[in-house]
């Protein structure tokens, strides 16, 4: 089984739009939406949920006020400033480390588990899908990403699918690292802007750090052709394969408004053709069986 992660560094470069189209083109694949903070892929693939799982990702300290003597030791030892002056826990700052529970002389503090999101096993028109939703202002998105990837593998094994396509979150931090560990290839979607180039470089460094084969796609390449050339040259110098250039075309937003992957919504459009070409490049570079 192979796994490809779609990432970007910079947000809003078109990860989800492209992932949805690859899911259509790849056939018999499982897609995993690992942007658990702000998942959007379901708006294009319309999954029908088969099974829901509770996600208990983080714990929070709770102070039993009937036992508390307000000595303030917990407040002093907490490194996250999560205990307020009146000795109550600020649930937004608490990272659930448990130091307060061992420091409290009267055992008034306990850690409680709580549901901080949900993970889903789903079916779509194009194949199976693993996804999740982190509750707003919760932490530990990396752990939830790991759960989504586990679920995707379960689905892939059950359905005898040989490919998992992962829609990653933006950035290079914990949920991104959780999205790329152990994948066969990372497809970095960038745009020809100064920020796009800067963030592409950092995303490629991340892939290198974890020894993952990189591919690059320049989205909206005609917004600034000079910058696109810079990206292509940079990739060549570093022996990174540029697998696709996609034009700026408002039809992408139109497809999104209509809730469809672009290759399904407008299969004859230049954008759809370019994504198809890109997919063929990836298939041959990774020697994928189907697709």
């Amino acid at each position: 089984m192979k796994q490809i992660a779609v990432l970007s560094g910079k947000g809003g470069t078109g990860k989800t739009t492209i992932t949805a189209s690859l899911a259509v083109l790849a056939r018999n694949t499982v897609v995993a939406d690992c942007d658990v903070d702000a998942p959007d892929l379901h708006m294009l693939l319309h999954p029908e949920i088969i099974k829901t799982q509770e996600f208990k990702g983080s714990k929070r300290a709770v102070i039993d006020k009937t036992k508390c003597v307000e000595c303030g030791l917990c407040r002093e030892k907490c490194r996250f400033d999560a205990i307020t002056e009146d000795i109550t826990v600020d649930p937004i700052s608490c990272e659930g480390c448990g130091v307060c529970t061992i420091i409290c002389p009267v055992s008034a503090v306990t850690l409680t588990e709580r549901i901080s999101g949900y993970a889903y096993f789903s079916k779509t028109k194009y194949g199976f899908m693993a996804h999740a939703m982190l509750s707003p202002s919760e932490s530990n998105s990396g752990k939830l990403v790991t759960l989504v990837r586990q679920n995707a593998r379960i689905l892939a094994e059950k359905e005898e699918s040989d490919l998992i396509i992962i829609d990653g979150p933006p950035g290079i931090g914990c949920p991104v690292i959780a999205s790329v560990t152990g994948v066969d290839a990372g497809l970095v979607i960038t745009e020809p802007t100064m920020s796009g180039i800067h963030d592409l470089e950092r995303a490629l460094q991340l892939l290198k750090h974890f020894n993952i084969q990189p591919f690059v796609c320049v989205n909206m390449y005609d917004i600034n052709k000079e910058n696109t050339e810079k990206i292509v040259d940079f990739c060549e110098e570093n022996r990174i394969k540029t697998v696709g250039n996609i034009t700026f075309n408002p039809i992408i937003t139109e497809a999104m408004v209509n809730g469809k992957p672009i290759v399904d919504y407008a299969p004859e459009s230049d954008v759809a053709k370019e994504i198809e070409r890109m997919w063929k490049n990836i298939v041959s570079a990774l020697k994928l069986g189907s697709g």
Partner: protein, 278 residues
């Protein structure tokens, strides 16, 4: 006043709004809290006069005193310590630096040492002070670097914070303590969906906020309907224009080339101030 700029969905134009606003008002301290992918310096071209490492504390086990009892490993909520029969393994990238392991160790065999997770840079561009952080590539935790950036806040100035995208820990760390938050969105289904999540976060945190609609004219009208229903003020609309996109692609804040926007961004800041005072 501390104003943060956040979004939910990435790439909606947070940095662009933050930079153009900062360039249109006076006495500004700008903190780029998107330490995973900091971009503000690409638009402001600051002169950097200080570069400092950012460290976190991670455990260091003195194996001569350790009897491999495993207390530290059982205590650690983040699986950052593994105790084998004759070896202790520490995973610094999983450690949250809570210090609990040093406290529970019955043999006092654990000390803490510094582990570099990022770099803090500060400097200036024109009259504007800029501070930003850069997370080390391969390090998962952005929050300690954001905390370090925010430690430089100078409340006597107009503080502008550029947040990373999303709705989890790095965003919360950034917007915490803000007097006002500007949420930048685009009028598309993805933009609206992620805006709704960001709104819940700010409501949970009881931070007053308003919305800027970027790329107005693309997509649909549902963002407007949502804001109307929820009585969320729309503070500014920036139309989709190829010229704005092109300027951005070259790293030029568009209000510098299109000066009619300076007033609009100044008005945006004043509107935020009015809403805070209310």
């Amino acid at each position: 006043m501390i104003v943060s700029i956040a979004s939910g969905k990435g790439g909606t134009g947070k940095t662009s709004v933050a930079v153009n606003m900062a360039l249109s008002i006076k006495n500004v301290q700008f903190l780029d809290c998107d330490v995973e992918e900091p971009n503000v310096h690409l638009l402001l071209h600051p002169k950097i006069d200080r570069t400092e490492p950012v460290y976190v504390l991670v455990p260091f086990v003195n194996e001569e005193s350790c009897d491999y009892c495993g207390e530290c490993s059982r205590f650690c909520q983040y699986n950052a310590i593994f105790v084998g029969s004759e070896k202790v393994l520490i995973f610094p990238e999983l450690c949250h630096s809570c210090g609990g392991c040093t406290a529970v160790c019955p043999k006092k065999a654990i000390n803490e040492e510094k582990h570099k997770v990022g770099t803090l840079k500060s400097g200036s561009a024109g009259g504007l002070e800029l501070v930003y952080g850069e997370l080390e590539v391969g390090e998962p935790m952005a929050v300690p670097v954001i905390r370090e950036v925010k430690r430089r806040i100078d409340k006597s100035r107009n503080v502008v914070l550029d947040s990373p995208p999303g709705t989890s820990c790095p965003v919360i760390e950034t917007v915490k303590g803000s007097d006002f938050c500007i949420l930048v969105t685009e009028p598309t289904p993805f933009g609206l969906h992620d805006l709704k999540i960001a709104v819940q976060v700010l409501e949970n945190m009881q931070i007053p906020f308003g919305v800027v609609i970027n790329r107005a004219g693309i997509g649909d009208k549902k963002v407007y309907e949502y804001c109307r229903e929820k009585s969320i003020p729309i503070l500014l609309e920036i139309p989709f224009q190829r010229r704005i996109a092109e300027l951005y692609s070259r790293g030029v804040p568009f209000s510098l080339e299109m000066p009619e926007w300076k007033e609009k961004f100044e008005a945006l800041f004043n509107e935020a101030r009015k809403l805070v005072d209310k």
